[in-house]
């Protein structure tokens, strides 16, 4: 199948430290791909190579069918980039900055259209860029990446520093891009964001991809135990539970509730229900959830760090 991005065996070192140590990944056309990993894991180095800004020591890289190390002007027409922290032009108005960049492409989108798409209104368009709020600045960054009507967009931490409402708005905007059929390569530190937006996720640590999958399946999340948490009425304790539930008990919680880890939550809830019915008691403060993406991510990266220690191979220093 024709892929938007195809990377194999990618390596890059800085002063003895191997920031990227053999990365393979593929991103399909129209896919939203989240690239996750702790600071210093090799994310920025990888993304810079994909964007045509970084050199590599080894490996094959193809982005929209072209090796970005030989990025041409034609290739740049088809790729949009939202960089991490970019204060950008200070003295021009939002509209002027957009006109400036629109003029650099053969077939740009309309300036007003694009500003509307990212949620910047006429009032914001008339503002001098230096006076924008953080959220508005980020919207402008996204608008600038879109102005050339690219097929592929790199979004490097697009919502860092956003308040929750601004983040929700940004997600809506990215959903809009999905509907336009754009391929999006996203990095973020917010697992909720990756879960909400991504079709597929890869986690990088120590310069290697340590796992890859959909938000639902990554790190065997679909197979991992669910948590069942509840409170028993006064006078009853965990020792009163039936034996097969007692086997699932976790260490005591600070809030005094009981926590079970279950691979078959529906069956175990059924047992808990019949037990409680039989005794005529109510099980209060009941919660059931499967591990969050953040739980999975933290486990994966912690495991990777452990492996790296065991190998005496240092995790790459931050090269953000």
């Amino acid at each position: 199948m024709d892929m938007a991005i195809r990377v194999s065996g990618l390596r890059r070192s800085f002063d003895e430290v191997e920031a990227v140590a053999g990365v393979d990944l593929e991103v399909g056309h129209g896919e939203i791909f989240a690239f996750l990993g702790p600071n210093g894991a090799g994310k920025t180095t990888t993304i810079e190579i994909l964007e045509g800004f970084g050199e590599r020591d080894a490996g094959e890289v193809e982005v929209l069918g072209v090796d970005p190390a030989h990025a041409t002007s034609d290739w740049r027409q088809r790729v949009g980039i939202v960089m991490q922290e970019s204060p950008g032009e200070q003295e021009l108005t939002v509209h002027e900055v957009m006109e400036l960049y629109a003029g650099l492409y053969k077939e740009p989108r309309g300036v007003d259209d694009t500003l509307a798409l990212v949620g910047l209104d006429d009032e914001a368009a008339a503002k001098i860029a230096a006076t924008l709020s953080g959220g508005q600045r980020r919207r402008l960054d996204v608008a600038l990446a879109l102005i050339g009507d690219p097929e592929l967009i790199f979004l490097d931490e697009p919502t860092t520093g956003f308040d929750p409402a601004a983040r929700r708005d940004a997600w809506k905007m990215l959903d809009g891009l999905r509907e336009l059929g754009k391929t999006i390569f996203l990095t973020t530190h917010y697992m909720e964001e990756a879960e909400r937006l991504a079709d597929r996720i890869a986690v990088i640590a120590g310069g290697r991809i340590i796992d890859e999958g959909t938000p639902a399946t990554i790190g065997h999340r679909d197979l991992a135990a669910s948590e069942i948490i509840f409170a028993l009425p006064a006078g009853l304790g965990e020792d009163d539970l039936p034996g097969d539930l007692r086997a699932l008990l976790q260490p005591a919680r600070r809030d005094g509730r009981i926590e079970l880890h279950s691979a078959a939550p529906l069956a175990d809830l059924g047992r808990l229900g019949s037990w409680a019915d039989g005794r005529g008691i109510e099980v209060g403060e009941l919660e059931v959830h499967r591990p969050t993406l953040e739980d999975v991510y933290l486990r994966l990266t912690a495991e990777a760090a452990g492996v790296a220690d065991a190998d005496k191979r240092p995790i790459a220093e931050e090269v953000a």
């Binding site: 600071n39 210093g40 810079e48 964007e51 800004f53 002007s73 034609d74 740049r76 027409q77 790729v79 949009g80 980039i81 960089m83 922290e85 970019s86 204060p87 950008g88 032009e89 200070q90 003295e91 021009l92 002027e96 006109e99 400036l100 960049y101 003029g103 650099l104 492409y105 053969k106 001098i128 600038l144 050339g148 220093e317 931050e318 090269v319 953000a320």
Partner: protein
């Protein structure tokens, strides 16, 4: 070329809205002109064998001073700042070719420099009665263009040695202030010790100053004028070569 003009147009607009740029290119030269030409007159000095009033000496001096600031100093400041702010990287991420980006950045400061020179020519004539002889025009044009070329080349070269706008400022001053002192701008070259004159002639500022001062007294023999211009082009090429080896698009890596 359309792309270059397109980008230059917006660069100029941003430039004119920048207070520091306006200070550097317009306000400071005008204040200097008012102080020097206004205060020092009545004394005499000699340029290219012609004895002239201090005023006639200082008007071209301020022109050379502001040409250097507008091209060399502002270019270094702009290039370093745009790199730091990610503007260079963002523009590189568009279909804009690298040469077009560099030419438009240079063109921006050269246009500003030419505008400043014209402004100072006019103010010198109207306010201080220091008139420019038409036969000096070719030397003036060579001085402005050669100076702009060498300072742009040097500017790009120097910009690669500063990793932030903060560190660029002292570097620019360290380079320009001694050169101003020894290049016959504030003190006529003939009044400096011989060895200092020799050093001055190695660097471009003296040659720009020579061309502009000659133009103002109207003594413009072809040989020395072309020699000055050749030295300036030499510096432009040297600067461009250093820049080509060292120039980077991305801001320095953090952490």
């Amino acid at each position: 070329m359309d792309l270059v003009l397109h980008v230059t147009r917006f660069n100029l607009r941003a430039y004119l809205r920048n207070r520091r740029a306006r200070m550097f290119t317009i306000v400071i030269p005008l204040i200097l002109l008012a102080l020097l030409a206004g205060v020092f007159h009545g004394g005499e000095t000699t340029v290219s064998g012609v004895t002239i009033d201090y005023r006639q000496f200082f008007v071209p001096s301020v022109i050379v001073f502001s040409l250097t600031l507008t091209t060399l100093a502002m270019l270094v400041a702009t290039v370093v700042q745009q790199r730091e702010l990610g503007i260079t990287k963002r523009r590189r991420a568009t279909p804009l070719p690298a040469w077009a980006l560099i030419v438009s950045q240079s063109l921006t400061v050269v246009v500003m420099a030419i505008a400043t020179v014209i402004l100072l020519l006019l103010v010198g004539a109207i306010a201080f009665d220091v008139h420019f002889p038409l036969r000096g025009l070719p030397a003036l044009v060579l001085g402005v263009l050669g100076g702009a070329a060498s300072f742009c080349g040097l500017g790009y070269a120097l910009s690669t040695f500063a990793d932030s706008a903060d560190s660029a400022q002292p570097m620019i001053q360290l380079v320009t202030f001694p050169l101003f002192f020894i290049s016959g701008i504030w003190i006529p070259l003939s009044e400096l010790p011989e060895w200092l004159q020799v050093i001055a002639k190695v660097f471009p500022v003296e040659h720009v100053a020579d061309l502009v001062h000659r133009a103002y007294v109207g003594v413009v023999p072809t040989g020395p004028v072309l020699l000055d211009f050749a030295v300036l082009i030499g510096w432009a090429v040297l600067g461009a070569a250093v820049a080509a080896r060292r120039f980077v698009w991305l801001p320095p890596r953090k952490g």
